[in-house]
């Protein structure tokens, strides 16, 4: 690998990690807080992408598309939680099956609505086009750098929220022990609804922000669901730093192996997962259940 290749592959890994982080962070917080493995999380990502694309295309405003995607996905997630998941709360298997069912139905509905085409976004001029990186002296898409910065900002804001605000303290406490949080006077149902809407909204936003770096097409839902699952397993349920580190690991490993031995690249992230599961089953930053 030449130096230029190495830097490019590394940057690709970092920016992919940014996207994985954006998608997985809502997934892991929902999982940690409510013990619900939302297997429709990828569908929310794709749904956000399609909705955002449609709005951006009609209005000519990418930012409006992104915001709409976040709001619409948040509402969809909230509806899913309130209408389907809340009545079966605490029954892990049923919750998993219901969310799988939703993801299958949603995939077909979206296929019917948006077809099997691949959609590309046109982000604002300020964040598109190429950039010449100083020092490294390598050309790289400006949008990808934006994606990286955006994920860093989201991660930082979330970290401040979780560590500095009472809402964040409540969420962390509820990840530790939901029943005790309710026994000190917190309405955990409201907390669950809020978290579900937030995680879903972030997935929808990621559909536009990520879809603009890559593309949006039928099948992406499964891809990002899988990525989120791997990230959560490696990072540990409900952990923000865990999600960040695992996103980096998974994406970098994926990109390096794609560059070095493309034939076997697909299995390398699974190998990573197997190793983590064998050595530290609760994930790198997770606590034993």
């Amino acid at each position: 690998m030449t130096w230029t290749q190495f830097v490019t592959v590394t940057l690709n890994g970092l920016t992919l990690a940014a996207l994985y982080f954006l998608v997985a962070v809502g997934f892991t917080l929902i999982f940690g807080l409510m013990r619900v493995v939302n297997l429709a999380h990828g569908s929310l990502y794709l749904f956000g992408g399609y909705v955002g694309w449609t709005v951006a295309e009609r209005s000519g405003n990418w930012i409006l598309g992104a915001v709409t995607a976040a709001v619409v996905a948040a509402v969809a997630g909230l509806a899913l939680q309130q209408a389907l998941l809340r009545p079966i709360q605490g029954q892990d298997l049923r919750e998993a099956l219901v969310t799988i069912g939703v993801s299958i139905v949603a995939a077909d509905l979206m296929l019917a609505q948006w077809g099997g085409f691949t959609y590309g976004f046109s982000p604002p001029r300020a964040i598109s086009g190429g950039a010449r990186l100083p020092v490294l002296d390598i050309g790289y898409p400006r949008y990808r750098l934006f994606l990286l910065a955006f994920a860093l900002v989201v991660g930082l804001v979330l970290w401040l929220l979780l560590t500095r605000t009472r809402l964040g303290i409540t969420i962390r406490a509820a990840i530790d022990d939901r029943d005790m949080v309710s026994a000190v006077g917190v309405n955990v149902q409201r907390l669950f609804a809020l978290m579900f809407a937030f995680g879903a909204g972030l997935a929808g936003l990621a559909g536009v922000v990520g879809g603009s770096a890559f593309s949006i097409a039928s099948g992406e839902d499964a891809r990002y669901l899988l990525a989120s699952l791997i990230v959560v397993i490696i990072g540990g349920m409900g952990s923000l730093p865990g999600t960040a580190v695992a996103s980096l690991l998974v994406a970098l490993v994926e990109q390096y192996s794609l560059a070095l031995f493309p034939t076997y690249a697909a299995i390398v992230s699974f190998l990573l997962m197997v190793v983590v599961l064998a050595v530290r089953p609760q994930g790198l930053f997770g606590r034993p259940a």
């Binding site: 406490a173 026994a183 000190v184």
Partner: protein, 255 residues
């Protein structure tokens, strides 16, 4: 009915603050509580019994953490059965669970901050500062993660956390479990002090000495029922009863 006043010395607590009548609780197929009736008023009540008799289930049922409950438990005249835990907490019941169940990833300060916000309109206001005054050890450990505290410190934290909900009744499940004698003595002292200030208490205990030090009223539970209500002095004076209901042997099933 009077509410506790600021730093109140002694405050009127109704004699029937908590009235449990024929309370049943189930975990799946198991019928754990089989018709419990008890009253808690201004005097602390200690509930004794061997392991697996349903004492913890009673505590959990009262604070709304057991879904399948039948019967009645009225707190200050209002029914608790069927209400959700956060409603029961804001109605004025503080819960100090078995095993303390502090939040390991939160610091001491975060625990207190988490609870302190929920002003429920009552004026006897517990604040983090008052909790730190009560347990100066916690003040020293303010920034420590609760998971790294000693057992005694965790117990203080669990009590402080419950106090911040401004309870009129404190339900404690085995507060002395796993604690060194010195720490237990300190706890007893603090709890007695709280009791004289007008906080009603229901204390589940395994240790006879702790139970009788905390409460003069004693109830004994066997397989989900209250089989005996007595006084601390009567119980201490009667080894036969101690042996029958609390001793490890001879095992006698009362079903």
């Amino acid at each position: 009915m009077a509410t506790p006043v600021e730093n109140g010395e002694s405050v009127a607590v109704p004699d029937h603050l908590l009235e449990i009548q024929d309370l049943h609780a189930y975990y799946g197929q198991s019928h754990i509580l089989q018709g419990v009736s008890l009253t808690v008023g201004r005097e602390p009540l200690a509930l004794l019994g061997r392991n697996g008799m349903g004492k913890t289930t009673l505590c959990q049922a009262l604070v709304g953490l057991v879904p399948a409950v039948r019967g009645s438990a009225r707190f200050d005249g209002r029914e608790l059965v069927g209400r959700r835990p956060h409603e029961i907490a804001s109605a004025g019941i503080g819960y100090v669970p078995q095993g303390r169940r502090i939040f390991p990833s939160l610091t001491v300060e975060e625990h207190l901050r988490l609870v302190a916000r929920r002003e429920s309109g009552r004026q006897n206001g517990w604040t983090p500062e008052r909790v730190y005054e009560l347990f100066s050890r916690l003040a020293e450990r303010r920034r420590h993660r609760a998971g790294a505290l000693s057992g005694g410190e965790q117990q203080m934290l669990a009590i402080g956390r419950a106090l911040l909900t401004n309870p009129r009744l404190l339900i404690m499940d085995e507060p002395s479990e796993g604690l060194a004698p010195v720490v237990v003595e300190h706890l007893i002292e603090v709890l007695r002090q709280l009791s004289t200030q007008g906080l009603a208490m229901l204390v589940v205990e395994q240790r006879l000495a702790v139970a009788t030090a905390l409460a003069e009223r004693i109830a004994i539970m066997v397989t989900g029922r209250i089989v005996l209500e007595t006084t601390a002095s009567a119980l201490l004076a009667d080894p036969a009863i101690q042996q029958q209901y609390l001793g490890v042997s001879p095992r006698r099933e009362v079903a």
